[in-house]
Symmetry: C2
Subunit: 297 residues, 2 copies
Amino acid sequence: MRLVRSVADLRALLKPLWNEGKRIGFVPTMGYLHEGHAALVRQSASRCDVTVVSIFVNPTQFAPNEDFAKYPRDLERDQALCLEAGADVLFLPEVAEMYPTGFQTHVEPGRLAEPLCGAFRPGHFRGVATVVAKLLAMVQPDLAFFGQKDFQQTVVVRRMVRDLNLPVDVVVIPTIREEDGLAMSSRNSYLSDDERERARCLSQGLFAAEEAFRHGERDPEQITTLARQAMAGADRLQYLELVDAQTLEPIQGPLDRTAALCVAAYVGATRLIDNVVLAPTVGEAGLNVSLSPTHGD
Amino acid sequence: MRLVRSVADLRALLKPLWNEGKRIGFVPTMGYLHEGHAALVRQSASRCDVTVVSIFVNPTQFAPNEDFAKYPRDLERDQALCLEAGADVLFLPEVAEMYPTGFQTHVEPGRLAEPLCGAFRPGHFRGVATVVAKLLAMVQPDLAFFGQKDFQQTVVVRRMVRDLNLPVDVVVIPTIREEDGLAMSSRNSYLSDDERERARCLSQGLFAAEEAFRHGERDPEQITTLARQAMAGADRLQYLELVDAQTLEPIQGPLDRTAALCVAAYVGATRLIDNVVLAPTVGEAGLNVSLSPTHGD
């Protein structure tokens, strides 16, 4: 596995691979990798000739009051995980090269960036869209892999890829969870033992809603209430919303299309997010959202 | 020369060329082509294996009160000009494919889009940056050619290419002029005989300023005043500004770096723009802006 720190070195390394028509997979991360990231890397390694992982804690997707400075970092462990999962290139760009003096062009997502996390993290998805666009232009992958845990991010990135005609397929991989259901996240490392114990209520709430849905519950109010009741262990729910999986608009009336139940909550000082996708069977709903890869066009 | 109307057909046509490592040149236009465009196409044809010209009157770079609906169109003549100038592919995308339902992601340029035309054409450079980013992603050229007549556009596009790490070299070609000095523009076709006669005062003003500069004038006020006096034939100057050629900020104090004297003016109902670049010799100024190609990184 090659470590690369500059864009020029990355391009030099990838150029012969582009020219040979190698299938390149890309997994953009902020590091402090866990089994969720490993699943993305493994998926890429199994489907592509070359897998590039980037680690870049992107300052522009953190609001001023957020945890950029204390975001956990452990390059040595990350390297081992990437190697084990099958990465070929580990790209570690510097902030100064990503955002040089005079930098001023941004990719601005539209209304998909407004609800849910977008309502509470001003500028977050602009930062995400911009850095992902930059990384995609650097790596020029055939496939790019994202985790479903960051559901709104996957929707925003897919939309960006389609709107800007980026020549890449976006692949979304299901959330990987701890044994008790907690969604894997680098931020789980912030949790005290007590908080860690209480944090499982989020996935439990989502699973309760999912279970009710599987048994035929279609009332958004009922589904959301079930989840909320199970989430009492969190210190504060920032949002808990059942939204259309494509438009991210709140589901009004009976659930008749693919939806995502999305939560953001504080457990102690740590903000956690999670979601489940609730998809009526094809026979039941006219419309069904595929979570499988869609091409850039 | 091949005519292509869909992104899928364009990609299918270009794919073998990408794979063979052919050098691709790209000239994005809004059609109603003139000798200025021909110069771009010829330059591309001379430097690249394959030249792609796009014609797309981009609605998002026109403000609601502007001339989108009446923007001149003449595909037959455009085809002949492209063929004669050496284009290999003429790409004619449809508005519905460029901006399908749900389209919402934009490339937002920063402060370089604020002065000059940006101050009078709200959203214009956002529209330009977005459509150029889309077209570059579709064509994936090695070189992209722009005319210096749209000076601020070249600065905004260069900045976008650098900021988003787009793998393309931006090449800016000097403005092509009518015999009497008027900068070639598709919008010149709007001018009545009388207006056409008066329109030449814009380039005459710029040339007068350039002449004074060549003879040692370095006072921005003097340079601008000279130009303004010669431009009395226009019905209204929207702006006439001497700006730093890199930052587009007004030149304060003696002209000691490369600057652009930029004008936008109405002649009758027609809005025309033009500019000259005033570059102190290398010995004279510490800093010198190159108008030659710069790589995306």
